[in-house]
Symmetry: C3
């Protein structure tokens, strides 16, 4: 059942969370499915190369959960480059990113023995910074001033909320899927639950504070409400208590909302990092926060056999692998023969999809027939 | 897994069921998430104040299910005042309603020992009449003739159907979540299943009968198909047999559809109760029906240790707490400093949300660019 | 939990998969719910007539899964005649099809003892050819050149993708729901998983190959990605290995995509089979492929007590019952007093539903107010 929940998060949650762009819904859901189907197989294959039993491929639910996890990193990075890359580029990214992920996870968890049950460091921070490094290499000066299609419409925001609500609901399963059954697993569920609930309230409050006239911004609600799930990941199965979990959740909600409002524009204009979905705010900073919380919890002795040094090394390893791996992957993706779309075709389904004819202009031309009549009358 | 199912109902089911309004989708889903996140924590806290173990907060899946249940009452009441209240007013309602719910549940189930496994009385009837009392106190004469935005559009009705289908599917889990494992739980599942199936057929038939030319009305299908789940709640774990469950389901489907068609307009015009989502028809009357069915089942001895008098007292207690608590809550919510929206701003996302610019008029202005051209040509 | 997953597939998966038509979303989801609610009860009743225990109806989760399965055949056939039949006609089809299904299943699995754990033959091939036979009998020459409303719009395709993603995710549960617990069930899950993943990649590749300029077609992605789940059904619990499962998946993805592109137009124009959703490509051919794969697996001895002859007989029986039963059902449905819609009213919600007024023309008239202004100005 945990496996099924994680599976739902990967396909429904991540898929629909990215449908907020007005003309990029087909690609968001469709390419998400493509990358997930490809990533699952590649992830399973790589794991079996690592852990061969008598030279034969063995399957288990646990390995399938791990394959789902490795795919999650790709979908996080996909968010950073959403709308600006071709399916072929993304398949290459999938290949390279899952490989790098396996290397890092083998080092951080397997060799060093760090504790990262909800994978704040090895999935979320890793996936985010990998994607941001790719986005930096693929920087498009032509989109410095934004793009007409880089925005949402009313219904596309509602589709994205389907993704948000699913991720919110099933995050406790994500963080507890590979926890030890019994008390640690129950603790992982309740800690995640408290962190998410506190984070959601913080995100609503912050969004209302930073926006004009106290309004709420849908982008913050779609994303920052989930930051608590990311940030509590590393210490989800540690004995941090409901109050500790809520402190982590509130911090995550606050920095995530502030990141969307103030940091993302700066990253785009000053550092050339165009982060379509704001993965830095949802996965990047909360992932690092999760790593730091894990170090603190280790210092306070909240889980046996967990030492601060090892946790710090795992965080550094995840960030290092992500940035170096992402930069190299970005350079390979930049090669001119992968069909990268031109600036003006970004964020547009119609270069990869047969879009229903009377909607090629995303709803506007729904009214073409009427307009023709109109013109005739005029 | 039962917990997860109930969780899905609360967040997806109730959230999307209320997206039917054409310009109020952000608020329906977004505020639903806010109230649920807040209500879960408040509900857990209150339960732990009731049942302190050695002065320490203890968590269990059962308590989390109970917190979900207490949140459900708030979301039901939210339906009655949807579109006419500010988030701050609703947070106050959440605080007071969950407190009242805990008092009533403690009395009805804890002290009196009534049987209400699917909570027809303590959640559905309670939540509905609480919300109706609030709506009565907040009566807006200015909306007597309706409001331009108080209606649905094609896609908003489809979003609402996501909610309906989820609630329909997972209702057996809702009614059996706190049943005793084994035969009573299986019975709760199958009874709910039969009641829902029969109710759905009855709702289709009635909708077709009362509408012009035998057409179906989406409002009836979205709501009345679920009334069977509400009505069978109290006696879900009693030995009423498939036939008994189906009789309850059919009755619920019929009165719910008739309520939408004939009773709601009368309530609005004569009694000043403006019930946006028609919770009286989905939760109120079917909830009372469930309570009455429980009394009848007790009379017929369908479950041991259940007596008609106690069941009747629980029903009366639920209604009493709901009406009195709702009226007091409504008076507090009516205080002038909670930011209640003016009549003309009701049912409109744009006072609380940054709505995508080209959609502020809910789809109409999608075509602004075309129109400008049009005008120029004209 | 398996039961809940199958239930989700039936209601959400099949329901939303059919919402792709631009003006038929209410009917797709609404009538899906009606048929499912009716079919579940009829299916349970029939099963209990078959297997009476002491003259009393007994319920179990297994019987409820079987009722869900029998309902699935109806929903598959519904896809073939979607938009061209009245609710009353479809209720009659439900009655007759579930009866025929029970006869065939009793013969193929009960008497002959064929193995069909994921029901490629008894559900998918049966449901598809039953529906196609009905569609052939109800052939509408007036729709030979298509119909204005027989197409999708941008948002309706996204709703349909909700259905696709759900079916994709939960298909492993569908194929393993009635497998023996333990190794066979785990094998059914992993085989289905591999077949689906391979099939999805094949569908994307083929769609890109056969479409103009290498674009993807949403219809292929919505449907052909699922063909692997259908095709691996019969041998899901056989020891075919990941590689065998992937070969089945790739083959299914390829023939399904080619079927949509080339075969469906031929069936419509030359044989008079107007298959609205293309069930022949998603369930028909992949179902037969599944049956053939089962025969091959039996030849290779991949499961004990399974013989090729029996498997072939079960496939033939399923097709025979489907075609004969479908033709007879079609003739009964063709009787003139069931309210079959006229050609020009096909694919249109507004003959059976009260459609929100300002949307009766599916979005176009959203702009009526603006247009009036426009005209005045002009």
């Amino acid at each position: 059942p945990m496996f099924q929940d994680v599976h739902v998060m990967i396909f429904i949650g991540f898929g629909f969370l990215m449908t907020f762009l007005k003309r990029y819904g087909f690609s968001s859901v469709g390419i998400n499915l493509l990358l997930a189907a490809f990533g699952l197989q590649w992830g399973l294959l790589l794991q079996n190369i690592w852990h061969l039993d008598d030279g034969k491929i063995k399957l288990s639910i646990e390995k399938m959960i791990n394959a789902d996890f490795s795919t999650a990193t790709v979908l996080i990075s996909f968010g950073a480059v959403l709308g600006k890359t071709s399916p072929v580029q993304l398949l290459i990214m999938t290949l390279l990113e899952i490989t790098t992920f396996c290397l890092n996870e083998h080092l951080a968890v397997g060799v060093l023995g760090a504790s990262d049950v909800g994978a704040s460091m090895t999935i979320h921070a890793f996936g985010a910074y990998f994607g941001l490094a790719v986005a930096r290499v693929l920087y498009r000066p032509g989109l410095r001033n934004g793009h007409d299609n880089e925005g949402s419409v009313y219904h596309s925001d509602l589709f994205a909320m389907i993704g948000t609500v699913y991720l919110w609901m099933f995050w406790p399963s994500f963080n507890s899927a590979i926890a030890e059954p019994g008390t640690p697993q129950l603790m992982a569920i309740t800690n995640t639950y408290f962190s998410l609930a506190a984070c959601a309230l913080a995100a609503y409050a912050m969004s209302s504070l930073v926006e004009h006239k106290g309004k709420l911004d849908m982008v913050h609600i779609q994303n920052a409400t989930l930051a608590g799930g990311v940030a509590v990941g590393t210490c989800a199965d540690m004995n941090i208590g409901p109050f500790g979990a809520m402190v982590i959740g509130v911090t995550a909600g606050v920095i995530s909302t502030l990141g969307f409002k103030f940091l993302s524009p700066i990253l785009a204009s000053n550092l050339g990092i165009q982060d379509t979905c704001g993965v830095h705010n949802l996965h990047g900073m909360p992932g690092i926060l999760g790593g730091l919380a894990g170090i603190l919890a280790a210092l306070l002795g909240r889980k046996e056999h967990v030492t601060p040094g090892i946790q710090a090394a795992a965080l550094a390893s995840s960030l290092g692998f992500a940035l170096v791996g992402g930069a190299i992957t970005g350079l390979i993706m930049k090669l001119p023969f992968w069909g990268q779309p031109a600036d003006q075709n970004c964020f547009d389904d119609s270069i990869y999809w047969e879009v229903p004819e009377d909607e090629e202009e995303a709803g506007e031309s729904l009214t073409q027939a009427d307009h023709s009549k109109n013109k005739a009358e005029a």
